[in-house]
Amino acid sequence: MRLPAPLHVYLLRHVQVALNSLGRLYRAPLASLMTAAVIGIALALPSALYALTVNLQRLGSQWDGGASLSLFLRQDVSLDQARALEKKLRQWPEIGRLRLITPQQALEEFRQLSGFGDTLDLLDKNPLPAVLAVTPAPGAADATAAAGLMQRLQALAEVDLAQLDLQWVKRFQAMVDLVQRAIWVLSGLLGLAVLLITGNTIRLEIQNRREEIEITKLIGATSAFIRRPFLYSGLWYGLGGALLAASLLALAFFQFSGPVRQLATLYESSFRLQMLSPSGWLALLLAGAVLGLLGAWLAVSRHLAAIEPS
Protein backbone atom coordinates (compact mmCIF):
# COMPACT_ATOMS: atom_id res chain seq x y z
CA MET A 1 0.00 0.00 0.00
CA ARG A 2 1.26 3.46 -0.85
CA LEU A 3 1.45 5.83 2.06
CA PRO A 4 -1.12 8.60 1.65
CA ALA A 5 1.19 11.30 2.93
CA PRO A 6 4.90 11.24 2.13
CA LEU A 7 7.04 13.91 3.72
CA HIS A 8 6.80 16.49 0.98
CA VAL A 9 3.00 16.25 0.96
CA TYR A 10 3.05 16.72 4.72
CA LEU A 11 5.28 19.79 4.44
CA LEU A 12 3.17 21.16 1.61
CA ARG A 13 0.12 20.74 3.84
CA HIS A 14 1.86 22.76 6.57
CA VAL A 15 2.66 25.54 4.12
CA GLN A 16 -0.96 25.52 2.95
CA VAL A 17 -2.32 25.69 6.49
CA ALA A 18 0.16 28.45 7.36
CA LEU A 19 -0.89 30.52 4.35
CA ASN A 20 -4.52 29.77 5.05
CA SER A 21 -4.20 31.08 8.59
CA LEU A 22 -2.44 34.15 7.28
CA GLY A 23 -5.22 34.69 4.74
CA ARG A 24 -7.80 34.41 7.50
CA LEU A 25 -6.05 37.17 9.45
CA TYR A 26 -5.81 39.24 6.27
CA ARG A 27 -9.55 38.99 5.70
CA ALA A 28 -10.20 40.59 9.10
CA PRO A 29 -7.48 43.25 8.86
CA LEU A 30 -8.65 45.60 11.58
CA ALA A 31 -9.06 42.98 14.31
CA SER A 32 -5.80 41.27 13.35
CA LEU A 33 -3.93 44.54 13.26
CA MET A 34 -5.21 45.55 16.68
CA THR A 35 -4.12 42.29 18.25
CA ALA A 36 -0.74 42.53 16.55
CA ALA A 37 -0.44 46.17 17.67
CA VAL A 38 -1.03 45.29 21.33
CA ILE A 39 1.57 42.54 21.06
CA GLY A 40 3.88 44.94 19.25
CA ILE A 41 3.69 47.56 21.96
CA ALA A 42 4.20 44.95 24.66
CA LEU A 43 7.34 43.74 22.85
CA ALA A 44 8.59 47.21 21.91
CA LEU A 45 8.77 48.47 25.51
CA PRO A 46 11.37 46.03 26.89
CA SER A 47 13.26 46.08 23.58
CA ALA A 48 13.51 49.87 23.71
CA LEU A 49 14.71 49.78 27.29
CA TYR A 50 17.25 47.15 26.36
CA ALA A 51 18.54 49.33 23.52
CA LEU A 52 18.69 52.20 26.01
CA THR A 53 20.90 50.32 28.48
CA VAL A 54 23.20 49.11 25.71
CA ASN A 55 23.65 52.74 24.72
CA LEU A 56 24.11 53.87 28.30
CA GLN A 57 26.83 51.31 28.79
CA ARG A 58 28.59 52.48 25.66
CA LEU A 59 28.23 56.01 26.93
CA GLY A 60 29.74 55.05 30.29
CA SER A 61 32.78 53.43 28.75
CA GLN A 62 33.22 56.08 26.07
CA TRP A 63 32.99 59.19 28.12
CA ASP A 64 36.41 60.84 28.43
CA GLY A 65 35.64 62.00 31.92
CA GLY A 66 34.61 58.48 32.90
CA ALA A 67 37.25 58.40 35.58
CA SER A 68 39.82 60.95 36.46
CA LEU A 69 42.85 60.67 38.69
CA SER A 70 44.73 63.29 40.62
CA LEU A 71 48.40 62.62 41.35
CA PHE A 72 49.61 64.73 44.27
CA LEU A 73 53.39 64.86 43.99
CA ARG A 74 55.63 64.95 47.03
CA GLN A 75 56.69 68.35 48.30
CA ASP A 76 60.36 67.64 47.64
CA VAL A 77 59.78 66.95 43.95
CA SER A 78 61.10 69.89 41.97
CA LEU A 79 59.25 71.47 39.10
CA ASP A 80 61.79 70.00 36.63
CA GLN A 81 61.30 66.55 38.09
CA ALA A 82 57.54 67.02 37.80
CA ARG A 83 57.90 68.00 34.14
CA ALA A 84 60.07 64.92 33.53
CA LEU A 85 57.43 62.75 35.14
CA GLU A 86 54.76 64.34 32.98
CA LYS A 87 56.80 63.54 29.87
CA LYS A 88 57.29 59.96 31.01
CA LEU A 89 53.62 59.40 31.73
CA ARG A 90 52.61 60.69 28.32
CA GLN A 91 54.20 57.53 26.87
CA TRP A 92 51.78 55.28 28.81
CA PRO A 93 49.08 53.98 26.52
CA GLU A 94 46.46 53.87 29.30
CA ILE A 95 46.73 57.58 29.81
CA GLY A 96 44.56 59.77 27.65
CA ARG A 97 45.09 63.32 28.79
CA LEU A 98 47.55 64.72 31.24
CA ARG A 99 47.87 68.15 32.75
CA LEU A 100 50.50 69.44 35.13
CA ILE A 101 49.33 71.92 37.72
CA THR A 102 52.35 73.60 39.26
CA PRO A 103 52.18 74.68 42.91
CA GLN A 104 52.13 78.26 41.70
CA GLN A 105 49.13 77.62 39.41
CA ALA A 106 47.37 75.70 42.15
CA LEU A 107 47.82 78.61 44.50
CA GLU A 108 46.48 81.05 41.93
CA GLU A 109 43.49 78.85 41.31
CA PHE A 110 42.86 78.52 45.00
CA ARG A 111 43.18 82.21 45.51
CA GLN A 112 40.59 82.91 42.81
CA LEU A 113 38.12 80.24 43.77
CA SER A 114 38.27 80.33 47.54
CA GLY A 115 38.25 84.03 48.29
CA PHE A 116 40.98 83.57 50.93
CA GLY A 117 43.43 85.61 48.83
CA ASP A 118 44.52 87.92 51.65
CA THR A 119 44.97 85.11 54.07
CA LEU A 120 47.20 83.26 51.62
CA ASP A 121 49.48 86.26 51.45
CA LEU A 122 50.30 85.67 55.10
CA LEU A 123 51.89 82.34 54.32
CA ASP A 124 55.60 82.55 53.81
CA LYS A 125 55.72 79.55 51.50
CA ASN A 126 53.34 77.81 49.15
CA PRO A 127 51.96 74.74 50.93
CA LEU A 128 50.42 73.22 47.82
CA PRO A 129 52.09 70.33 45.96
CA ALA A 130 52.35 69.97 42.21
CA VAL A 131 49.48 67.96 40.82
CA LEU A 132 49.19 65.85 37.69
CA ALA A 133 45.56 65.56 36.49
CA VAL A 134 45.25 62.26 34.62
CA THR A 135 42.41 61.18 32.38
CA PRO A 136 42.58 57.52 31.36
CA ALA A 137 42.52 56.61 27.67
CA PRO A 138 39.02 55.66 26.39
CA GLY A 139 39.87 51.97 26.52
CA ALA A 140 40.94 52.12 30.16
CA ALA A 141 38.16 54.29 31.55
CA ASP A 142 35.96 51.70 33.21
CA ALA A 143 36.10 51.19 36.94
CA THR A 144 38.45 48.20 37.13
CA ALA A 145 40.95 49.46 34.55
CA ALA A 146 41.03 52.87 36.23
CA ALA A 147 41.66 51.28 39.61
CA GLY A 148 44.54 49.27 38.15
CA LEU A 149 46.02 52.41 36.67
CA MET A 150 45.73 54.16 39.99
CA GLN A 151 47.73 51.44 41.73
CA ARG A 152 50.53 51.65 39.21
CA LEU A 153 50.66 55.44 39.55
CA GLN A 154 50.67 55.25 43.32
CA ALA A 155 53.77 53.08 43.13
CA LEU A 156 55.78 55.83 41.43
CA ALA A 157 58.44 57.37 43.64
CA GLU A 158 57.45 60.97 42.90
CA VAL A 159 53.81 60.41 43.84
CA ASP A 160 52.64 61.17 47.31
CA LEU A 161 49.00 60.30 46.75
CA ALA A 162 47.07 59.04 43.73
CA GLN A 163 43.41 59.76 44.08
CA LEU A 164 40.84 58.15 41.85
CA ASP A 165 37.50 59.83 41.46
CA LEU A 166 35.48 56.72 40.76
CA GLN A 167 32.37 57.67 42.63
CA TRP A 168 30.19 58.70 39.78
CA VAL A 169 31.45 55.94 37.48
CA LYS A 170 30.37 53.46 40.12
CA ARG A 171 27.03 55.16 40.61
CA PHE A 172 26.44 55.17 36.90
CA GLN A 173 27.29 51.48 36.65
CA ALA A 174 24.95 50.71 39.53
CA MET A 175 22.14 52.61 37.83
CA VAL A 176 22.63 50.73 34.58
CA ASP A 177 22.60 47.45 36.52
CA LEU A 178 19.37 48.46 38.19
CA VAL A 179 17.72 49.40 34.91
CA GLN A 180 18.84 46.10 33.44
CA ARG A 181 17.27 44.18 36.27
CA ALA A 182 14.08 46.18 35.86
CA ILE A 183 14.09 45.27 32.18
CA TRP A 184 14.16 41.58 33.02
CA VAL A 185 11.17 41.95 35.31
CA LEU A 186 9.34 44.09 32.76
CA SER A 187 10.18 41.68 29.95
CA GLY A 188 8.79 38.82 31.98
CA LEU A 189 5.55 40.63 32.70
CA LEU A 190 5.06 41.89 29.17
CA GLY A 191 5.96 38.47 27.77
CA LEU A 192 3.21 37.06 29.94
CA ALA A 193 0.89 39.74 28.59
CA VAL A 194 1.70 38.70 25.01
CA LEU A 195 0.98 35.10 25.98
CA LEU A 196 -2.40 36.04 27.40
CA ILE A 197 -3.34 38.30 24.49
CA THR A 198 -2.62 35.62 21.90
CA GLY A 199 -4.24 32.99 24.08
CA ASN A 200 -7.41 35.02 24.40
CA THR A 201 -7.54 35.91 20.71
CA ILE A 202 -7.12 32.27 19.74
CA ARG A 203 -9.77 31.28 22.29
CA LEU A 204 -12.25 33.62 20.58
CA GLU A 205 -11.28 32.23 17.20
CA ILE A 206 -11.90 28.70 18.45
CA GLN A 207 -15.33 29.72 19.68
CA ASN A 208 -16.16 31.36 16.36
CA ARG A 209 -15.18 28.25 14.45
CA ARG A 210 -16.86 25.82 16.79
CA GLU A 211 -19.17 24.40 14.13
CA GLU A 212 -16.27 23.85 11.77
CA ILE A 213 -14.27 22.11 14.48
CA GLU A 214 -17.18 19.81 15.27
CA ILE A 215 -17.68 18.90 11.63
CA THR A 216 -14.02 18.17 11.00
CA LYS A 217 -13.95 16.01 14.12
CA LEU A 218 -17.00 14.12 12.83
CA ILE A 219 -15.23 13.45 9.57
CA GLY A 220 -12.23 11.98 11.34
CA ALA A 221 -9.80 14.82 11.83
CA THR A 222 -7.09 14.20 14.40
CA SER A 223 -6.44 16.70 17.18
CA ALA A 224 -3.20 17.69 15.46
CA PHE A 225 -5.08 18.52 12.27
CA ILE A 226 -7.59 20.69 14.12
CA ARG A 227 -4.92 22.35 16.23
CA ARG A 228 -2.66 23.31 13.35
CA PRO A 229 -4.45 26.38 11.89
CA PHE A 230 -4.84 27.90 15.35
CA LEU A 231 -1.17 27.40 16.18
CA TYR A 232 -0.22 29.07 12.92
CA SER A 233 -2.57 31.96 13.75
CA GLY A 234 -0.74 32.40 17.05
CA LEU A 235 2.59 32.27 15.28
CA TRP A 236 1.50 34.96 12.81
CA TYR A 237 0.12 37.18 15.56
CA GLY A 238 3.40 36.94 17.47
CA LEU A 239 5.53 37.49 14.39
CA GLY A 240 3.34 40.37 13.22
CA GLY A 241 3.54 41.94 16.67
CA ALA A 242 7.33 41.57 16.67
CA LEU A 243 7.55 43.22 13.25
CA LEU A 244 5.44 46.10 14.52
CA ALA A 245 7.65 46.38 17.60
CA ALA A 246 10.70 46.48 15.34
CA SER A 247 9.13 49.26 13.28
CA LEU A 248 8.31 51.22 16.44
CA LEU A 249 11.90 50.86 17.62
CA ALA A 250 13.29 51.95 14.27
CA LEU A 251 10.94 54.92 14.26
CA ALA A 252 12.00 55.89 17.79
CA PHE A 253 15.64 55.56 16.80
CA PHE A 254 15.27 57.95 13.89
CA GLN A 255 13.37 60.37 16.10
CA PHE A 256 16.06 60.37 18.80
CA SER A 257 19.34 59.94 16.96
CA GLY A 258 19.46 63.57 15.73
CA PRO A 259 18.86 65.24 19.11
CA VAL A 260 21.23 62.81 20.83
CA ARG A 261 23.97 63.65 18.37
CA GLN A 262 23.37 67.33 18.98
CA LEU A 263 23.53 66.87 22.72
CA ALA A 264 26.70 64.80 22.44
CA THR A 265 28.29 67.47 20.27
CA LEU A 266 27.50 70.08 22.89
CA TYR A 267 29.37 67.93 25.40
CA GLU A 268 32.21 67.52 22.90
CA SER A 269 31.57 63.80 22.70
CA SER A 270 31.52 61.65 19.58
CA PHE A 271 28.75 59.51 21.06
CA ARG A 272 26.08 58.29 18.60
CA LEU A 273 22.88 56.42 19.41
CA GLN A 274 23.13 52.81 18.31
CA MET A 275 20.25 50.58 17.17
CA LEU A 276 19.84 46.92 18.13
CA SER A 277 22.44 44.58 16.68
CA PRO A 278 21.33 42.14 13.96
CA SER A 279 21.15 39.38 16.57
CA GLY A 280 19.06 41.71 18.72
CA TRP A 281 16.53 42.16 15.93
CA LEU A 282 16.50 38.42 15.35
CA ALA A 283 15.93 37.77 19.05
CA LEU A 284 12.99 40.20 19.01
CA LEU A 285 11.33 38.40 16.07
CA LEU A 286 12.02 35.03 17.62
CA ALA A 287 10.60 36.09 20.98
CA GLY A 288 7.42 37.32 19.29
CA ALA A 289 6.98 34.12 17.29
CA VAL A 290 7.64 31.83 20.25
CA LEU A 291 5.33 33.77 22.59
CA GLY A 292 2.55 33.80 19.97
CA LEU A 293 2.90 30.09 19.37
CA LEU A 294 2.97 29.36 23.08
CA GLY A 295 -0.11 31.49 23.75
CA ALA A 296 -1.99 29.71 20.97
CA TRP A 297 -0.88 26.38 22.35
CA LEU A 298 -2.25 27.26 25.79
CA ALA A 299 -5.63 28.28 24.34
CA VAL A 300 -5.80 25.27 22.05
CA SER A 301 -4.94 22.74 24.72
CA ARG A 302 -7.49 24.26 27.07
CA HIS A 303 -10.42 24.80 24.72
CA LEU A 304 -10.21 22.39 21.79
CA ALA A 305 -10.72 19.26 23.85
CA ALA A 306 -13.94 20.75 25.21
CA ILE A 307 -15.49 20.82 21.74
CA GLU A 308 -16.90 17.43 20.91
CA PRO A 309 -19.41 16.81 18.13
CA SER A 310 -22.82 15.53 19.14
Partner: protein, 224 residues
Protein backbone atom coordinates in the same frame (compact mmCIF):
# COMPACT_ATOMS: atom_id res chain seq x y z
CA UNK B 1 -19.66 -4.86 9.33
CA UNK B 2 -21.54 -3.80 12.47
CA UNK B 3 -22.20 -6.12 15.40
CA UNK B 4 -23.93 -5.16 18.67
CA UNK B 5 -23.70 -7.57 21.63
CA UNK B 6 -26.11 -6.62 24.40
CA UNK B 7 -25.28 -2.97 24.09
CA UNK B 8 -26.82 -0.57 26.60
CA UNK B 9 -26.40 3.16 26.83
CA UNK B 10 -27.42 5.15 29.86
CA UNK B 11 -26.86 8.89 29.72
CA UNK B 12 -25.32 10.57 32.75
CA UNK B 13 -28.67 12.09 33.69
CA UNK B 14 -30.03 8.54 34.10
CA UNK B 15 -32.03 8.10 30.92
CA UNK B 16 -31.68 4.63 29.34
CA UNK B 17 -31.34 5.36 25.64
CA UNK B 18 -30.56 1.79 24.59
CA UNK B 19 -31.12 -1.44 26.48
CA UNK B 20 -29.47 -4.74 25.59
CA UNK B 21 -29.44 -4.17 21.86
CA UNK B 22 -28.00 -7.00 19.77
CA UNK B 23 -27.83 -7.27 16.00
CA UNK B 24 -25.45 -7.91 13.18
CA UNK B 25 -25.33 -5.91 9.97
CA UNK B 26 -23.17 -7.83 7.49
CA UNK B 27 -20.82 -6.09 5.10
CA UNK B 28 -22.60 -5.00 1.94
CA UNK B 29 -26.04 -4.89 3.59
CA UNK B 30 -28.45 -1.98 3.54
CA UNK B 31 -30.90 -1.49 6.40
CA UNK B 32 -33.18 1.10 7.92
CA UNK B 33 -33.27 2.04 11.55
CA UNK B 34 -36.78 3.05 12.52
CA UNK B 35 -38.69 4.12 15.57
CA UNK B 36 -40.30 7.16 17.14
CA UNK B 37 -38.18 10.10 18.08
CA UNK B 38 -36.50 9.30 21.36
CA UNK B 39 -36.50 5.56 20.61
CA UNK B 40 -32.70 5.57 20.49
CA UNK B 41 -31.96 5.78 16.75
CA UNK B 42 -29.53 8.65 17.05
CA UNK B 43 -27.88 7.11 20.08
CA UNK B 44 -27.29 3.87 18.19
CA UNK B 45 -25.64 5.72 15.31
CA UNK B 46 -23.59 7.81 17.74
CA UNK B 47 -22.24 4.68 19.38
CA UNK B 48 -21.02 3.39 16.01
CA UNK B 49 -19.31 6.70 15.21
CA UNK B 50 -17.89 6.84 18.76
CA UNK B 51 -19.67 10.11 19.45
CA UNK B 52 -20.91 8.35 22.56
CA UNK B 53 -19.53 5.33 24.40
CA UNK B 54 -21.71 2.39 25.42
CA UNK B 55 -22.24 1.81 29.12
CA UNK B 56 -22.56 -1.97 28.74
CA UNK B 57 -22.07 -4.61 26.08
CA UNK B 58 -19.70 -4.69 23.17
CA UNK B 59 -19.93 -3.39 19.65
CA UNK B 60 -17.74 -4.14 16.68
CA UNK B 61 -17.09 -2.20 13.51
CA UNK B 62 -15.32 -4.05 10.74
CA UNK B 63 -14.03 -6.54 13.34
CA UNK B 64 -12.70 -3.83 15.69
CA UNK B 65 -14.05 -3.77 19.22
CA UNK B 66 -15.20 -0.18 19.59
CA UNK B 67 -15.66 -0.52 23.35
CA UNK B 68 -11.88 -0.66 23.58
CA UNK B 69 -10.97 2.05 21.10
CA UNK B 70 -8.68 4.61 22.64
CA UNK B 71 -9.51 8.27 22.36
CA UNK B 72 -6.56 8.97 20.09
CA UNK B 73 -7.71 6.28 17.66
CA UNK B 74 -11.25 7.63 17.32
CA UNK B 75 -10.50 9.78 14.23
CA UNK B 76 -9.30 6.71 12.38
CA UNK B 77 -12.51 4.82 13.19
CA UNK B 78 -14.53 7.76 11.88
CA UNK B 79 -12.62 7.75 8.62
CA UNK B 80 -14.14 4.33 7.88
CA UNK B 81 -17.61 5.83 8.19
CA UNK B 82 -19.31 8.23 5.82
CA UNK B 83 -21.75 10.22 7.94
CA UNK B 84 -24.79 12.03 6.64
CA UNK B 85 -26.90 14.36 8.76
CA UNK B 86 -30.41 15.74 8.70
CA UNK B 87 -29.13 19.32 8.70
CA UNK B 88 -26.28 18.46 6.28
CA UNK B 89 -23.59 20.03 8.46
CA UNK B 90 -21.72 21.73 5.65
CA UNK B 91 -19.14 24.47 6.10
CA UNK B 92 -20.91 27.52 4.80
CA UNK B 93 -17.84 29.66 4.25
CA UNK B 94 -16.35 27.17 1.81
CA UNK B 95 -17.21 26.10 -1.70
CA UNK B 96 -18.90 22.82 -2.56
CA UNK B 97 -15.54 21.54 -3.79
CA UNK B 98 -13.79 22.39 -0.50
CA UNK B 99 -16.59 20.83 1.54
CA UNK B 100 -16.36 17.56 -0.34
CA UNK B 101 -12.56 17.64 -0.29
CA UNK B 102 -12.40 17.94 3.51
CA UNK B 103 -12.16 14.19 4.35
CA UNK B 104 -9.38 13.79 1.78
CA UNK B 105 -7.51 16.83 3.12
CA UNK B 106 -7.82 15.40 6.62
CA UNK B 107 -6.47 12.06 5.41
CA UNK B 108 -3.56 13.92 3.76
CA UNK B 109 -4.01 13.03 0.11
CA UNK B 110 -2.16 14.62 -2.76
CA UNK B 111 -3.66 17.63 -4.42
CA UNK B 112 -4.28 16.00 -7.81
CA UNK B 113 -5.76 12.95 -6.11
CA UNK B 114 -8.12 15.17 -4.14
CA UNK B 115 -9.32 17.03 -7.23
CA UNK B 116 -9.90 13.79 -9.12
CA UNK B 117 -11.83 12.11 -6.30
CA UNK B 118 -13.90 15.17 -5.43
CA UNK B 119 -15.05 15.51 -9.04
CA UNK B 120 -15.87 11.80 -9.17
CA UNK B 121 -17.98 12.10 -6.01
CA UNK B 122 -19.73 15.25 -7.23
CA UNK B 123 -20.39 13.53 -10.54
CA UNK B 124 -22.07 10.63 -8.73
CA UNK B 125 -24.46 12.94 -6.89
CA UNK B 126 -25.03 15.03 -10.02
CA UNK B 127 -23.47 18.29 -8.83
CA UNK B 128 -20.36 18.46 -10.95
CA UNK B 129 -21.36 21.89 -12.28
CA UNK B 130 -21.73 23.31 -8.76
CA UNK B 131 -18.19 22.76 -7.44
CA UNK B 132 -17.43 26.49 -7.24
CA UNK B 133 -20.77 27.35 -5.59
CA UNK B 134 -21.21 28.17 -1.91
CA UNK B 135 -23.63 25.86 -0.05
CA UNK B 136 -26.07 28.70 0.76
CA UNK B 137 -26.80 29.15 -2.95
CA UNK B 138 -27.97 25.52 -3.21
CA UNK B 139 -31.39 24.03 -2.50
CA UNK B 140 -31.93 21.67 0.44
CA UNK B 141 -31.79 18.60 -1.80
CA UNK B 142 -28.58 19.82 -3.40
CA UNK B 143 -27.02 20.56 -0.02
CA UNK B 144 -27.82 17.04 1.12
CA UNK B 145 -26.22 15.65 -2.03
CA UNK B 146 -23.09 17.67 -1.20
CA UNK B 147 -23.24 16.05 2.24
CA UNK B 148 -23.45 12.62 0.61
CA UNK B 149 -20.60 13.38 -1.78
CA UNK B 150 -18.50 14.37 1.25
CA UNK B 151 -19.47 11.12 3.01
CA UNK B 152 -18.47 8.87 0.10
CA UNK B 153 -15.47 10.76 -1.27
CA UNK B 154 -12.88 8.74 0.65
CA UNK B 155 -14.68 5.48 -0.16
CA UNK B 156 -15.60 4.37 3.36
CA UNK B 157 -16.95 0.82 3.74
CA UNK B 158 -19.91 2.11 5.80
CA UNK B 159 -22.43 4.89 5.35
CA UNK B 160 -24.44 6.08 8.35
CA UNK B 161 -27.28 8.50 7.75
CA UNK B 162 -29.32 10.18 10.49
CA UNK B 163 -32.70 11.29 9.07
CA UNK B 164 -31.10 12.23 5.75
CA UNK B 165 -34.44 13.17 4.21
CA UNK B 166 -35.95 14.79 7.28
CA UNK B 167 -35.88 18.26 5.72
CA UNK B 168 -36.74 17.26 2.15
CA UNK B 169 -39.98 16.83 0.22
CA UNK B 170 -41.06 13.29 -0.85
CA UNK B 171 -39.70 13.46 -4.37
CA UNK B 172 -36.26 14.66 -3.29
CA UNK B 173 -36.31 12.10 -0.48
CA UNK B 174 -36.82 9.31 -2.98
CA UNK B 175 -33.90 10.58 -5.09
CA UNK B 176 -31.65 10.65 -2.04
CA UNK B 177 -32.65 7.11 -1.04
CA UNK B 178 -31.98 5.87 -4.56
CA UNK B 179 -28.56 7.43 -4.32
CA UNK B 180 -27.91 5.37 -1.17
CA UNK B 181 -29.07 2.25 -3.01
CA UNK B 182 -26.58 2.97 -5.77
CA UNK B 183 -23.72 3.12 -3.30
CA UNK B 184 -24.98 -0.06 -1.66
CA UNK B 185 -24.97 -1.76 -5.06
CA UNK B 186 -21.20 -1.23 -5.35
CA UNK B 187 -20.60 -2.86 -1.97
CA UNK B 188 -20.95 -0.07 0.60
CA UNK B 189 -22.77 -1.06 3.79
CA UNK B 190 -25.58 1.41 4.49
CA UNK B 191 -27.52 2.09 7.69
CA UNK B 192 -30.15 4.82 7.56
CA UNK B 193 -32.12 6.10 10.53
CA UNK B 194 -35.44 7.42 9.32
CA UNK B 195 -39.08 7.71 10.28
CA UNK B 196 -40.30 8.17 6.73
CA UNK B 197 -42.16 4.86 6.94
CA UNK B 198 -43.96 5.09 3.59
CA UNK B 199 -40.75 5.55 1.70
CA UNK B 200 -39.01 2.81 3.68
CA UNK B 201 -41.80 0.35 3.01
CA UNK B 202 -41.60 1.00 -0.72
CA UNK B 203 -37.85 0.50 -0.84
CA UNK B 204 -38.14 -2.86 0.92
CA UNK B 205 -34.86 -3.13 2.82
CA UNK B 206 -34.64 -4.83 6.22
CA UNK B 207 -35.57 -2.72 9.22
CA UNK B 208 -34.18 -2.46 12.70
CA UNK B 209 -37.11 -1.24 14.76
CA UNK B 210 -36.35 0.49 18.02
CA UNK B 211 -38.95 1.11 20.68
CA UNK B 212 -37.97 2.84 23.92
CA UNK B 213 -34.37 1.76 23.58
CA UNK B 214 -35.09 -1.88 22.75
CA UNK B 215 -34.83 -3.64 19.41
CA UNK B 216 -38.31 -4.98 18.52
CA UNK B 217 -37.72 -7.35 15.68
CA UNK B 218 -34.31 -8.93 15.51
CA UNK B 219 -34.35 -9.31 11.74
CA UNK B 220 -32.42 -11.55 9.44
CA UNK B 221 -30.12 -9.10 7.73
CA UNK B 222 -28.67 -10.38 4.51
CA UNK B 223 -26.34 -8.69 2.09
CA UNK B 224 -28.38 -7.01 -0.59
Amino acid sequence: MIRFDNVSKRYPEGRDALQAVSFHLPAGAMAFLTGHSGAGKSTLLKLIALLERSTRGQLFLDGENLSRTRRRKIPFVRRKIGMIFQNYRLLFDRTVFDNVALPLVIAGHRHQEIARRVRAALDKVGLLDKERALPVTLSGGEQQRVGIARAVVNKPPLLLADEPTGNLDPELSRDIMHLFEEFNRVGVTVLIASHDLDLIARLGHPQLQLHQGRLLTPPALEPA
